[in-house]
């Protein structure tokens, strides 16, 4: 009833090319953004902000990064956690070694470091494709984590590479409470997500998609595959790097290279598969799903069998349910939550009439 676009006419190109062409979507989007910025900080408890909302946002950013590479440019990567590590350690070192380095600049430089490393490890993509490339990106995963542990310079000579993030301070304002960290993360994620959404609608994004769909054909119509692939690696790694830096600064505070292991890479891959490959919206949905699912399972398990089952079985049952749910999801909705969202919207347009 309410969700109709009847009577909304586009009279200029600009109007036709809006991200949200339907007015209700625009209003809804601004309302959601307003809710997250203005209302939620007052409603949510510190636990919610620190343990759920901040990681969901950070993982959404990482998932957007991987989605750019895998969903839009079609290059399967299993090394996203390593690029997050580069971002985190890059930002840490610039904060540490440059006096008076502003946090946001360090964050951007951390992302740029990750982008550089990403381009270096993206070079093989010019020659190899598909699963060969996926396995090749594992080289990045293992090599980077190994290098961060082995060379103490990266972690300022701390034992086993553990770093403690410095205090976040922007223009003299210290971000030390969960609320302020949440707002900072939300702001950065919102800006970068908007940039990503626009980027994938631009010439660059279209050339990525052309390469994804068929790289030889893309080359024939005049797209440079080298530029498209490497720029996808750079932008994707930049997003992962910024997410990694936020992971260290806004979420955990103390990180070690081993924390950015293959499991984390898989987690991010799960997020985009469950959320929807090739969808910015899907990155958020997938991240929320993957972060919330273990917490939910844990709570459900504890309330169901409060203390009556052996400790080992609980974690195994979680593994079983997690694995089972992933398979179930892939079978039921291979295009992810973003597709469900789309179907829901289309249904809503007709509701309550059948046609």
């Amino acid at each position: 009833m309410l969700y109709r676009e009847a009577g909304q006419f586009k009279v200029s190109y600009q109007e036709d090319q809006q991200i949200f062409p339907i007015r209700q979507d625009r209003v809804g989007f601004i309302a959601i953004l307003g809710f997250f910025f203005l209302v939620l900080p007052f409603l949510a408890s510190e636990y919610w902000l620190q343990a759920i909302l901040i990681p969901v946002l950070i993982f959404s950013l990482a998932a957007i990064g991987l989605n750019i590479l895998t969903g839009y440019a079609g290059q399967l990567s299993l090394g996203s956690a390593a690029f997050m590590a580069v971002g985190a350690f890059g930002a840490y070192n610039f904060m540490l070694r440059v006096d008076g380095m502003p946090f946001l600049v360090a964050l951007a430089i951390g992302g740029l470091c990750a982008a550089l490393v990403g381009v270096a490890f993206g070079l093989p993509s010019l020659r190899i494709k598909g699963f060969y490339l996926a396995v090749a990106t594992l080289a990045a995963q293992f090599f980077i984590v190994w290098a961060l542990v082995k060379f103490p310079w990266f972690s300022n000579n701390s034992s086993s590479g553990v770093i403690s993030a410095q205090q976040i301070e922007i223009l003299g304002f210290a971000f030390d409470t969960p609320v302020s960290k949440y707002l900072l993360t939300l702001g950065i994620v919102a800006v970068l997500a908007l940039a990503a959404k626009n980027l994938v609608r631009s010439t660059t994004g279209r050339s990525w998609m052309a390469v994804r769909d068929m790289d030889v054909a893309a080359e024939v119509i005049g797209i440079r595959p080298m530029f498209a692939k490497l720029s996808a690696f750079a932008v994707s790694s930049f997003y992962c790097g910024v997410a990694g830096a936020l992971y260290a600064y806004a979420y955990l505070g103390t990180v070690e290279p081993e924390g950015f292991n293959l499991d984390l890479s898989f987690k991010i891959l799960f997020m985009i598969i469950i959320g929807g490959v090739g969808s910015i919206m899907g990155s958020f949905l997938g991240a929320a799903f993957i972060v919330l699912l273990p917490i939910f399972l844990n709570v459900a398990m504890h309330s169901l069998f409060a203390g009556s089952m052996p400790a080992g079985l609980g974690s195994n049952l979680e593994l079983i349910i997690f694995g089972g749910l992933i398979i179930f999801f892939l079978i039921v909705e291979p295009h992810g939550l973003a597709r469900l969202w789309q179907i829901g919207k289309e249904k809503l347009r007709l509701w309550p009439f059948p046609h």
């Binding site: 030889v216 598969i273 080992g312």
Partner: protein, 308 residues
């Protein structure tokens, strides 16, 4: 020089083990185009099931725990479990996902990995267990006397077993009806379907064969380093072998395994000290990556021709 050969032979023999795991990957990838990440979990599951049966069987049947009967009974039961697992995987996971993109199938096998790991540990517990195949891990005397090189009896036995397994698989593929059907499916799904080969049976068989390979690999790895969760990481050891040898080639898996095993050990011994050691984790990947830059389809992989 003796030391060099010792390292080389040690590397080659552990390469045989990598090749065994890689073999399971290749079988499934060739027949169904699925990149089966769960192969490592299957190795773990197989070994754990075998050891688990070995523990409980004496209680059930009243047989002596060390007797051969228990060993083979446990082997048969574990094999049966792997076959059931293979058939279930085909029925429950793969069949509904036919025609999905490769990445979706790949993700499904990662989900399967979690599932199998959880089930294995829920059934048999997470303790590290010893596994004995009755072969002592001691140097062979006549090699030591004649060439002054330490070669473990157990490693030789493992290599022989792996060789026998590969040979019998090759014979199976070459000379049996099912083997021919498997090769036909690997060649071209649609053509195989059109001449009346039941694709889904073939997939179930392939998963069962991969389960058998996983069991053998699990027994050898388990006897070497104990049956524990770390067995699932054998999959990560097998991946560089795969890209080096080519995803679709059985000989590639063997040769790739040998190359990776040998070069990894040599690099750890001769390059490792200069960069702080522990390079075994990534060196095989970088090696395989460098190799791919020259031959993108691996040593024996099928050359892929792009057509617009």
């Amino acid at each position: 020089m003796g030391f060099f050969f010792e390292v080389l032979i040690g590397g080659l023999l552990s390469g045989v083990l990598y090749a065994l795991v890689a073999l399971g990957f290749v079988l499934i990838y060739k027949a169904s185009g699925v990149f089966n990440f769960a192969q490592g979990a299957m190795v773990f599951f197989a070994a754990l099931t075998f050891v688990g049966f070995q523990e409980v069987l004496p209680g059930w049947t009243g047989l002596d725990a060390d007797s051969n009967v228990v060993f083979w009974l446990a082997f048969v039961l574990a094999l049966a479990a792997m076959i059931v697992l293979g058939i279930l995987t085909e029925k429950v996971v793969l069949r509904p996902l036919v025609n999905q993109p490769h990445i979706t199938l790949f993700m499904a096998t990662i989900g399967l990995t979690f599932l199998i790991e959880g089930i294995a540990q829920a059934l048999w517990g997470a303790n590290v267990r010893g596994l004995s195949l009755g072969i002592a891990d001691e140097p062979v005397e006549w090699i030591m006397e004649s060439a002054d090189i330490l070669v473990s009896k157990f490693d030789l036995f493992a290599a022989t077993l792996a060789g026998a397994l590969v040979a019998s698989l090759a014979l199976f593929f070459q000379y049996t009806k099912v083997g021919r059907a498997l090769r036909a499916v690997a060649d071209d799904h649609q053509a195989a379907l059109s001449i009346g080969i039941p694709l889904q049976h073939i997939w179930a068989i392939v998963w069962a064969v991969a389960g058998f390979v996983a069991l053998v690999a699990g027994l050898i790895w388990g006897a070497r380093s104990g049956v524990q969760f770390a067995l699932t990481f054998t999959a990560l050891k097998a991946l560089p072998v795969l890209i080096l040898g080519g995803f679709t080639s059985v000989p590639g898996a063997i040769v790739g395994g040998l190359i990776i095993g040998a070069s990894e050990k040599l690099a750890e011994v001769y390059i490792g000290p200069f960069v702080g050691g522990g390079i075994e984790g990534w060196f095989p990947y970088v090696l395989a990556l460098g190799f791919l830059l020259i031959r993108p389809e691996g040593l024996f992989g099928e050359r892929h021709i792009d057509r617009v």
